[in-house]
């Protein structure tokens, strides 16, 4: 069979799949938008950051009291606003702040007299995580305040130096990880739904009986699904680059790794569709597969920093290597113990294995239909 004929088969199958998808415009739109939803929702998580909103009741306006509040501001632990005792109490009871810190009336006088003084701290102890943040951050602010106000008394300080030339915000960092999850989700969804639809509508029989190369049919189906997955990917990248303002340092890496991720997960999607043969099962399986895999693959930072178990799980997840490669493409540094070459080899090998496995399963099950 000539190459030209095979290419025609590929084009015809891909075009038919795109047309079929567009006949269900609502699902086509939802399918393209679901990864964007992921991006927006997980960014909500990033926006919450680690800074606790607190009210400070200033019963003393002396210079040392002001300097203490400044130390709290500099501790990167609080979002501070001053309030009257009544307002602060109302806010903490309504759940809009996590703590009320009261600077007592004789704060300056007590410090000048080297007399011990306690700061009343009322904590909305919703859960241990937030409560412990406050329990750590208030003493930390006190020591930082002493180091600034009484440097001859508190001499031990932390002197920081950084590995990277500049800090990367949590939102720009997490947005890049979420792009990878979005690419995975878009590819899995399109691949699995397109394939399952062929079994539901019975068109798989026609394809199996057609006197054409089955490999060309498989490639055509992957390209058809890839069209919508790519539309979703482009939309995701546009959101990350334009409104969020994260520009890739290595655009070619984004292109190369992006195509590898789309190809690998499209193949996995086709595999899911071939195995379950029903869109009813393919859709939830695709969505549910992304969530745990994403969280276990180091989206917030190197997974091994979270402990031995998360680190070991991340090693066997292909998404770990995809996230590390994308972080390098956007930010220019490594975010996993392995280097970029290892990321590339693992991703390429994963793509080859999934495509081969899918071709094998599709060939056997498709023929048996």
């Amino acid at each position: 069979m000539s190459l030209r004929r095979n290419l025609r088969v590929v084009r015809a199958v891909a075009a038919a799949d795109i047309r079929l998808t567009l006949r269900e415009p609502l699902f086509a739109i939802i399918g393209v938008l679901i990864p964007i939803n992921f991006l927006l929702l997980f960014l909500l998580f990033a926006l919450s950051g680690g800074q606790a909103p607190v009210a400070v009741v200033m019963n003393d306006r002396g210079p040392l009291a002001e300097q203490f509040v400044q130390a709290m501001n500099n501790s990167q632990s609080f979002l501070i606003h001053t309030a009257s005792p009544a307002d602060a109490e109302r806010e903490i009871r309504s759940g809009s702040i996590v703590a009320v810190i009261t600077v007592p009336q004789d704060f300056d006088a007590a410090l000048a007299a080297k007399r011990r003084i306690d700061l009343p701290v009322e904590v909305n102890n919703l859960n241990v995580d937030f409560t412990n943040d406050i329990r750590r951050a208030v003493p930390l602010s006190i020591t930082s305040f002493y180091a600034d106000a009484f440097p001859e008394q508190v001499v031990v300080t932390a002197q920081e130096s950084d590995v990277q030339a500049h800090d990367t915000g949590y939102v720009p960092y997490l947005a890049v990880s979420i792009v990878v999850a979005g690419l995975m989700l878009a590819s899995l969804l399109q691949g699995s739904v397109n394939t399952a639809r062929d079994y539901e509508l019975g068109t798989i029989k026609e394809l199996a009986l057609a006197p054409v190369n089955r490999f060309a049919v498989g490639v055509g189906k992957m390209l058809g699904a890839a069209a919508l997955a790519t539309a979703s990917a482009l939309l995701l990248l546009a959101v990350v680059i334009l409104p969020i303002g994260v520009h890739p340092l290595h655009p070619l890496e984004v292109l190369g790794f992006g195509l590898l991720i789309i190809a690998a997960f499209l193949a996995l999607g086709v595999l899911i569709g071939t195995l379950v043969r029903r869109r009813q099962q393919a859709i939830p399986l695709s969505i549910a597969a992304v969530l745990p895999l994403f969280f276990l693959s180091g989206p917030f930072g190197p997974a091994n920093w979270l402990g031995d178990v998360p680190g070991a799980i991340a090693v066997v997840s292909p998404l770990t290597y995809a996230i590390a490669a994308f972080q390098h493409a956007f930010h220019g540094y490594q975010t996993a113990p392995q280097d970029l070459t290892a990321d590339s080899i693992v991703l390429a090998a994963f793509t080859l294995v999934t495509v081969a496995l899918t071709a094998f399963v599709f060939g056997r099950r498709g023929a048996r239909h």
Binding site: I30, R136, E160, A288
Partner: protein, 366 residues
């Protein structure tokens, strides 16, 4: 009484169909299970960064600081030589290097500036700020332990609630609400969409029953399946001691669960009537439920979010459901209970009206 039997028959049919459709069960259960897994993995690891500790002074003060750093719940400390520490940092085995210099004790004794150097792999602000806070926090502990501490300011803590709640336990309530909304919206939607997609709606419309009976049966089936699954989750949580409302607080907890399930069943039926396609309903339903989950404080607390998101969250009914369940289960409190229940009653009524109107219009047009 005459219309009760057909309502129950339609409800029983839908419940049986749900039990026999693994994909419908998967749509409802997989996302909450995924979030549950994530919360348990994340809760065990939050906030403890691996660091290499280089100790160049064997004096008593240096050793005391080492002991505080090693006992701190902010770090996982690995002792290393300077060369080893650099290698660990370069290969991302650790997030930072803390070096206690050879002159530490001398400087401390002489009241000279005595810096502890911290080299941080500042690849994102989340980890970086953790380290920026944790080392000064260890220094705070160092001074607090000194008999002649110069720090004269202490903390007198008082807590708003009777006891602290573990993070993983705390996150279970939003996940329970996610389960309820997913079960209601997706299953209610699928039960309605399935009738249109498989054309069984024709048989139902030809049956000698009113349309109201048909709609009531479908919403009832969805509510019952949601409550059954919630019942299993609550029973398992109660036996394991994870979620255990005390005394009469079971009542508001169950009422809130019932109201959320009812609102979600109504919304799901509305969605199914409007979209009439299984794939569209499951895609849209999962999205809606996950949005509601995040906006009700799913993996954060609303107070930590920017103000504009907090404003949106206050218009999200599940926000009040989570608040009421947390108050009943964890804090044995009736604060805001009236407000929360009122919002949920209104939402349930709105959901039911939407479901009835949407399905009735679609049936009339069929």
């Amino acid at each position: 009484m005459g219309s009760l039997r057909p309502v129950l028959a339609i409800a029983a049919k839908d419940i049986l169909t749900w039990v026999r459709t693994p994909s419908a069960i998967a749509v409802s259960l997989l996302p909450p299970i995924a979030f549950l897994l994530i919360i348990f993995v994340a809760a065990g690891a939050v906030g403890r960064n691996p660091v290499a500790l280089v100790v160049q002074d064997s004096g008593p003060q240096a050793q005391r600081l080492v002991s505080i750093l090693e006992d701190s719940d902010a770090f996982r400390v690995q002792r290393a030589t300077p060369e080893e520490a650099t290698h660990l940092l370069d290969t991302l085995q650790v997030a930072g290097i803390i070096t206690i210099p050879a002159s530490f004790d001398d400087n401390y004794r002489m009241h000279r500036p005595d810096p502890v150097s911290v080299r941080i792999n500042n690849l994102n602000l989340d980890f970086t700020n953790d380290l920026r806070r944790s080392v000064p926090a260890a220094i705070t502990g160092f001074y607090a332990d000194q008999p002649d501490t110069p720090v004269m300011v202490g903390v007198a803590e008082s807590d708003l609630r009777p006891h602290d709640v573990d993070l993983a336990q705390f996150e279970l309530v939003p996940i329970l609400v996610l389960l309820l909304t997913l079960m209601g919206i997706v299953n209610g939607g699928l039960a309605a969409a399935r009738e249109f997609e498989d054309l069984t709606i024709k048989a139902l419309l030809l049956a000698p029953i009113g349309r109201g009976t048909l709609i009531t049966g479908k919403i009832l089936a969805c509510w019952v399946t949601t409550m059954l699954v919630a019942g299993v989750v609550l029973a398992v949580s109660f036996v394991s001691g994870i979620l255990r409302p005390a005394g009469w607080y079971w009542l508001p907890a169950l009422a809130v669960i019932g109201l959320i399930a009812l609102a979600a069943a109504g919304l799901g039926t509305a969605l199914g009537g409007a979209l009439r396609r299984f794939s569209a309903v499951s895609g849209a339903g999962i999205n809606v439920a996950i949005y509601l989950f995040f906006l009700s404080g799913g993996i954060s607390v609303a107070a930590f979010l920017p103000e504009w998101i907090q404003t949106i969250a206050h218009f999200t009914p599940t926000f009040y459901g989570v608040d009421a369940l947390e108050a009943a289960i964890f804090y044995q409190s009736t604060d805001n209970l009236g407000r929360d229940v009122a919002v949920l009653v209104l939402t349930a009524a709105g959901g039911l009206i939407l479901g009835i109107v949407s399905l009735r219009r679609r049936l009339n047009a069929f």
